[in-house]
Amino acid sequence: MDPPLTNSASFTAGSNPESYSLVELLSFPMGSGGRLGLRMGSLSGTGEGFGVGDASVEESTVTDQSGSRGGRNGVGGGESGGKRRMDAGNFHEDESSKLVSTSSANSDLNEPIGKRMKASGSRDENSVSKTKAEANSGTSNKGAEEKSKPEPPKDYIHVRARRGQATDSHSLAERARREKISERMKILQDLVPGCNKVIGKALVLDEIINYIQSLQRQVEFLSMKLEAVNSRLNPAIEGFPSKELAAPTFDATGMIFGLQAQREYSQGPQVEWLDMQLSSDIKAA
């Protein structure tokens, strides 16, 4: 979809300089390519004298909408959604007539939008989508990925249609849920050592389960050890007065560690000492 769009862009910029000048196109620094594609899409919808065939109304409307969608994709700049929407655009270019003729739900959804766009004219459409595009380009790249969810479901309908899946809200929610799950699985994979090379959800889950079990076993083992050690330490700890429950809690800790190291700890050095002792493999939350 993109190469013909850029070609027609240069063509119209040369032929209709009064309506869309290159200066106006280049005056927006961010997402100018996207806005370019958008205009070309709406232009092709109106069929103003260049290569897009205006054999039937349905076909032109469908290409129109795919063009505008491609434009918004360029502005948003999300890597995840980009390829998908490009595929959708390609699909519409290839099989737009078949889509309109066969799938009734899609044509029902597409036609009113396209007709409304035609009726309102290219200027209004451009102004509306320009504000939308600027709102999109203001956000960061990370925001664009999250923005794809609250966007109107119009974007996902094309993806669903391409895969031959249902277009209702349930499957959309299911898709969002699956994405969330895979994202969290990735986080867990980073967390569990040696889990990065494992492929497959079941095996990753198995690794995670193993790791948690080993950690819990370690806790058991360490508390066994602590039991033995604690009994040895018993008289030394019992010698201290039992006022620590009312006192600030770091006193008790300082006592347990201070017994061994024979040093005095205030709160600050105590915390620092703990941090020095702990190895740095515990990542931040």
Partner: protein, 141 residues
């Protein structure tokens, strides 16, 4: 946010040391095997409880741990059951229900939330193991 995790670390250490001290204070003089096992069990429960209370009630797993410990008798039966179950179904690979049984409070969660809680739980377990190792090291040499 490393400061947040550090605070969990230090809070856990304080609580755990305090409960260790309390356990030591009222321990009987007998050194029978049963008594040793009981103390080991109490230390382990104390470590889990201090970690859960250090995390606070905003996490589902810590809430579940605290709730289980508060209802101690129920907790014991649950622990027994879960251990038997883990031993039996160890060969089943990658079943999310195994994970549900390992992460406290994971039975009622949907899968997304379970994974979220699992990540936090793993982090906290690691901290717990590290600190317990440190205490053992510094008490035994």
């Amino acid at each position: 946010m490393p400061s947040n995790h550090n605070s969990i670390k230090t809070r856990f250490t304080y609580r755990f040391a305090r409960s260790l001290k309390k356990l030591n204070k009222n321990r009987p003089a007998s050194q029978s095997m049963k008594e040793t096992y009981r103390r080991y069990h109490m230390i382990r429960v104390a470590s889990y409880a201090s970690m859960a209370s250090a995390v606070g009630p905003k996490r589902a797993w810590s809430r579940a741990v605290l709730w289980k410990i508060r209802n101690r008798t129920l907790h014991r039966t649950l622990m027994k059951k879960s251990r038997i179950h883990v031993l039996r179904t160890r060969k089943v690979s990658g079943n999310p229900n195994d994970l549900r049984k390992l992460v406290p409070g994971g039975e009622g969660m949907d899968f997304c939330r379970l994974l979220n809680e699992t990540a936090h739980y793993i982090k906290c377990l690691r901290t717990q193991v590290q600190i317990m190792k440190n205490i053992v090291d510094h008490c035994s040499n």
